[in-house]
Symmetry: C2
Subunit: 353 residues, 2 copies
DNA sequence: CTGAAAGCGCTTACAG
DNA sequence: CTGAAAGCGCTTACAG
């Protein structure tokens, strides 16, 4: 039990008006509660007339099915918990929207949780959600999550689908963008535009997605016979402010890059800010690519070349993978890599020589 | 009961591993279930030693509190339903984020629902959510919602907070941006920039927020001694595409406006697109203002002058208002107007004469 | 085809 | 301070 949290309030009214129950309906019609229950669950066993009478009474009394009670008795659940870092990130908002949509179609309700990238809050949120007995979890783990601690709070046999961030030693299902290929595509695109001095900008090297993206970047470089320079691997928290602040690090060495593959769109937008404030025009003097295709990417100045993963569709996919898992609890963990497409815009134009 | 929806799956494993219950703990320790329950709920009645033994056993068996069972018995609920049109709208995503954050702090869990602006889907979603017995609803109604139908599905004594869209004949609590004052501020700002021919562009006149905004617009005009022209009141669905398509309607009359107060940012962004495609440069040849300050507003070309309402803070406020209502079910309906601030950017520059 | 009984996991008077 | 009993609203064998 969670001892920090107070709450849980009485239903409206001093003396909570009792809701209409199967008992009320049964009495009114003159049948047993079992019969009412069978009608509710659409059993074919019930006599047509009995069914009709019960259904009429159900409507008359405006009966509302109490699914939580039914779930308790049946030892099932009709909810799924969706836990993400931050709904105000448009990528995750789209994702959440897709999850909720797909779950709703299957009769599940979505329990929401957000962690603000804090592993501690994540533990607290998951623990609270567990008390509501969701059938499963769709979790985009906070950076720095501890797999052990997660397993602890989620229990051994929980149905969990990890999204976006891989976890050391976790044997849960995992859905990820094709980070490596995405960064590869972006880098190759820049090379095709004539760039030879290309940095990789932003993200935390420790995070699995940043790691994957750097590998793709590296692969494209080496395929083109270009050297990888350690001083052009620049880390930054994935927010605009820090990215802008770290812009200078690109130009500290003797040789200066003419382009940067950025960890994601937010970082790329920050970098463009940083460039502009130095009098370097993104898209004209310096090429930039992002990752995610958030809605701001297309309206940025210049519009941002990026990789699109269709987050809403990823959400639907995540939901569907989790539901598959429910039907098949003993199957081996799945690892699904969703494809990613390059969206070329003006931020990655060829530079005049 | 909802007859369209199937679903609700067994817990993991062919034969669902029984979860650890108070009974298990009670047996292991050699006390009654009542005592375990008292320990769980932190009752001071329990002997210190007994408590310690129970708590140790709770940890040892990794007991997880089943709050849904407790809620059933106590006739309470610890969830609140949040129903919005579209999570992928950044304004609502921020709002949802604030709601969830504030509810979480009070020990509530958020049930998510989205309607895609469809009243029919809204009914279905609300009906499903009702079966999960949430304590209350935070609802941003779909356009064209039927108050009667809503009251029907939500029941008489439901705790409901309406957000953003007023509903004819509804006596639920209502939280709204200051639409009227916002549009007034935007219009006055354009007048101060030297504009005298100002249109109001976008939104459905039937929607309450559009209606309010038009009133504010009108008030600013009349204060400045400017005439209201019916042909400069142009409707458009609040999406970018339709707004862009309707751009032409601004220039059909003899006299052409030099500026437009737009229903919201999305419409303004669409209008800017429409202007550009006609060779009219927004911010240089034609001034534009929006409403909402979505994240794209600041990175648009040119950056969009708009009204900011701090949607995350509105979310927190909505949560807090609903919780107030729970404590005070018999108070009169509240009507709360949240202030709105003008954010001046380049899209509303003074035009060269 | 229908009903009586037991039970999901918890809590709450009521005794003692 | 602790336990026995009843019950939240539902469902599920089991009889008949």
């Amino acid at each position: 039990m969670n001892d920090k949290k107070p709450a849980a309030s009485q239903r409206a009214g001093k003396e909570a008006k009792r809701a209409v129950t199967v008992t009320d309906i049964a009495q009114a019609v003159g049948v047993s509660r079992a019969t009412v229950s069978l009608v509710l669950r659409g059993s074919p066993l019930v006599n047509v007339d009995t069914r009709a009478k019960v259904e009429a009474e159900l409507r008359r009394q405006r009966y509302v099915y109490n699914r939580t009670a039914a779930n308790l008795r049946r030892r099932t659940s009709s909810s799924i918990a969706l836990v993400i870092n931050d709904l105000s990130n448009p990528f995750f908002a789209e994702f959440a929207s897709g999850v909720d949509e797909a779950l709703g179609e299957k009769g599940y309700v979505t329990l929401l949780g957000s962690t603000s990238e804090s592993p501690a809050r994540q533990q607290a949120v998951l623990s609270t959600l567990m008390e509501h007995t969701p059938t499963g979890f769709i979790l985009s783990p906070a950076e720095g999550s501890d797999t052990q601690a997660l397993r602890q709070v989620l229990g051994v046999n929980a149905n969990v689908l990890l999204f976006n961030r891989e976890l050391e030693g976790a044997d849960w299902d995992f859905l990820t963008m094709d980070n490596q290929n995405g960064a590869y595509l972006a880098t190759r695109h820049l090379i095709e535009q004539g760039h030879r001095d290309i940095a990789f900008f932003g993200g935390h090297a420790a995070s699995s997605s940043c790691h994957q993206r750097r590998i793709g970047y590296q692969r494209a470089l080496s395929e083109a016979g270009l050297d990888l320079r350690q001083d052009w691997l620049i880390e930054s928290a994935p927010n605009r402010l820090e990215a802008a602040a770290r812009t200078g690090e690109l130009f500290e060495g003797g040789q200066r890059p003419s382009a940067a593959v950025c960890y994601n769109d937010t970082v790329a937008l920050g970098l463009m800010l940083g460039l502009t404030s130095r009098g370097i025009r993104p898209g004209a003097d310096f090429a930039v690519t992002g990752f995610d295709d958030i809605s701001e990417a297309s309206v940025a100045v210049p519009p941002l070349t990026t990789l699109t993963a269709d987050p809403r569709e990823r959400g639907r996919q995540a939901a569907s993978l989790l539901l598959q898992r429910l039907d098949n609890p003993d199957a081996a963990p799945m690892r699904v890599v969703a494809p990613v497409q390059l969206r070329v815009r003006e931020s990655s134009a060829a530079l005049p020589r």
